[in-house]
Assembly symmetry: C2
Homo-oligomer: 455 residues x 2
């Protein structure tokens, strides 16, 4: 019997998140205050985040216990399954072994609930009754809505108006879980009303939605703000993925030679690779390759400078040291909405700078071609984001065939594509287009990088 | 630690389907030829089905081996998980234990691939290159399309035109898996062209789509026809669900007191309960209750007479003895498309006649109310069909609370609702309506029951 699914018993589910900050060869560059250019302290962040998350953001502890209440909710869908992609291997006629860890069986359909549940818990513990957040296409908003239902925390989601109108399904998901979702710009905030007075037809942007959510949280005592990617504590919560996978790969009696994953803000892939990169840092696995796959439309790691920049378009957030295309850069409308980000998680950037992870960029059409091959062999309809990983994994598996090498490839598969079928329709009907690297636009955006006092 | 998911190792996955025909206290009534009224033989069915499926339809063997090639594909998503619904129990403040076996993690999102894969395999083994079928809302068409991709069998789906136009996502799913899907009535068949000549604006019906698929299969040597529910061999293939659940309930050290499931054609719920009802037949578990839940809009078991009728609206299929509302009866447009059927699997009807299973009907709005409570406790967004089971399970759990009884309730959960979010939107915005039992329409339809020579 060819075993294709590795189940991890719930009693063996990891009970601690892994904090890479304990093992970094050099510490992370500090986060800077957008006004003063000085490193931010806990007090600067307290209006927006509960103290426990602020502590996790800078913690140097290697292991952080997952609270039992969070574990209990994780157990409604975790551990997720590690699959062996025998049928894809056979179709590619490759000696490579291809595995994929699949986060699409969470109730929200992606990896996002891993941190949404944790964030809701810490907010709840500190008496927060209500959380405000923004969402673009809706993945993050729906995950936080589900977590809010689980902890009975009220969730308010500011959803970019054009997505709100064009993609009603994600909005309905949020409402089914009891959240309030409004189109941004909205009448619910000062900044939203101001924008609408100036332009009643405004279709919104992620930058505006962030501004609304932050204003909402900052102006109400019962409300905090929540982010679904980029920050250290978000990546920390996602390490449950990689810690589970380590146990499952051990069950399969293999160790990966290559790990591939898509990166937008970086939280899905970091959640998988951080628990492995420590073996590379320690010298135990010097040859392990970790490949970050980004879209050609937003290639921060492969094309951007490593510089301090804002996390948001509006320039309201603290300054993070990251590979960036400039916070005013707006990526082309690729279907992989989760990868349309100008920057990248500081931890991922730091590891890339240190040469511990590599990066490549893929064109949209080729990623859907890979996604369709995956669907017709493994069955799963993947979201547009993990189609990027599948493309890279297929390329590596073909290289193995050509070289006659039986490498072990691990794909960090972030979720299903049931709510992205319009993108498959565009691909299958030949309407999907590629976007060249927008060199001029990036050059312009990089002129807007904030000035930072030299260290 | 409260264990909420029971994983069955793949080495313990059942390798045989269970055939209830071996254990029935009385044999099933014969299937009759629609022209002669005489029992049909294998030769009558040979133009439409491969011989192995015809044999399974009438087999009296208790156990039928699952071919290794079918098991290998099952292993891309099976065994599925048995969940304990602790959070729902707590919300209901009930001493009852609630479990649900969840088929929503199949790549097509429902239980349908269990038989789609098996049917494709037997067709492929007998040299069939192409399978034609019909689909209403698209669940069955998409499952067969996925199976076709797995076995490299060409799939042609005739999809009711109004659904084809209103629900493009299911059509895209089929195409992503490589199937050809056309709106029915179509220009591809004689009968389709005739209908379109008479009424170019015709929006189609399941009856017309069946007629097109049957004509397609009967008129081409390389093509057979396939059905996704009702028939004995379809229910047989679904018993993998209940056989797995038996092992998982044993892991949980419980035996169900009550099993609830929705029934439309009957294949999902029969797949779960047939492996349990044998304990009731044998006398080992006389108190086991098996509750079939149907919609008030199509209450065949609770309201229909037990009579010979056609399986399809057009009256082309053999005559099956079943509880029926009349093959010309068209149920109201409830969102649970999979339950909009005038008849019921003959095996389920026979067991109901023998008093081995009970039935009840639920109104649409109450089922969504239950579905939303499930979503906000367990997280999962259920398809409208299993919302019926959840409603019935909640009612039973509340009865347990009132009576102080710690019964064990098992829900046969057939799949997720990601492609049914419009129905949730209607419910949440107060637009959803209930449909009273259409007594007059059923009375009219029952006048069209075919005349059958008395046995």
């Amino acid at each position: 019997m060819e075993r294709t699914m590795y189940f991890l018993d719930q009693k063996d589910m990891p009970t601690r998140w892994y904090n890479i900050q304990a093992d970094l060869p050099e510490p992370l560059p500090p986060v800077l205050h957008p006004g003063t250019g000085k490193p931010v302290g806990p007090a600067d962040l307290a209006p927006l985040f509960p103290m426990e998350l602020i502590k996790q953001e800078v913690s140097q502890e290697r292991w952080i216990e997952i609270p039992e209440e969070v574990q209990a909710i994780y157990r409604t869908w975790r551990p997720t399954v590690l699959h062996r992609a025998y049928r894809l291997e056979k179709a590619l006629d490759t000696p490579a072994k291809i595995f994929y860890k699949y986060e699409g069986t969470s109730q929200a359909g992606s990896h996002k609930p891993n941190t949404a549940v944790a964030q809701c818990y810490y907010n709840k513990m500190e008496g927060v009754k209500r959380i405000a957040t923004e969402t673009g296409a809706g993945q993050w908003g729906s995950a936080l809505s589900m977590a809010g239902a689980m902890f009975n925390v009220e969730i308010k989601v500011y959803m970019v108006k054009i997505s709100f109108n064009q993609k009603p399904y994600r909005r309905i998901l949020m409402e089914a879980w009891g959240a309030k979702c409004v189109a941004s710009p909205s009448e619910d905030t000062e900044i939203g009303r101001r924008i609408l007075r100036e332009d009643p037809e405004c279709t919104g942007s992620l930058g505006m939605a962030i501004s609304e959510a932050v204003e909402d949280a900052a102006s109400r005592d019962d409300t905090k703000y929540s982010l679904g990617s980029v920050l250290n504590h978000v990546l920390l919560h996602q390490t449950i993925i990689g810690e589970e996978t380590r146990k499952q790969m051990e069950m399969a009696d293999v160790y990966p030679d290559i790990i591939v994953g898509n990166i937008g803000g970086g939280s899905n892939f970091a959640g998988q690779f951080l628990p492995w990169v420590r073996d590379k840092i320690s010298g135990a696995k010097p040859d392990l390759r970790i490949i970050c796959v980004e879209p050609t439309a937003a290639p921060s790691l492969t094309k951007g400078p490593y510089a301090y920049d804002h996390g948001d378009v509006a320039g309201m957030t603290p300054l993070l040291k990251m590979y960036t295309l400039g916070h005013t850069f707006i990526p082309s409308p690729i279907h992989a909405g989760g990868l349309r980000y100008h920057g990248m998680a500081p931890i991922v950037c730091h590891l890339h700078k240190l040469g511990l992870v590599e990066a490549r960029a893929e064109h949209q059409v080729a990623t859907f071609e890979a996604g369709v091959q995956f669907a017709r062999t493994e069955g799963i309809i993947s979201a547009p984001e993990p189609c990027h990983n599948i493309k890279a994994a297929i390329d590596e598996a073909i290289r193995c065939r050509e070289a006659g090498e039986a490498k072990t490839i691990l794909i960090a598969h972030s979720g299903h594509g049931y709510l992205d079928l319009a993108a498959y329709d565009a691909y299958l009907s030949g309407q999907l287009v590629d976007y060249a690297y927008p060199e001029e636009e990036v050059k312009e955006a990089l002129k807007q990088l904030p000035k930072v006092p030299s260290a």
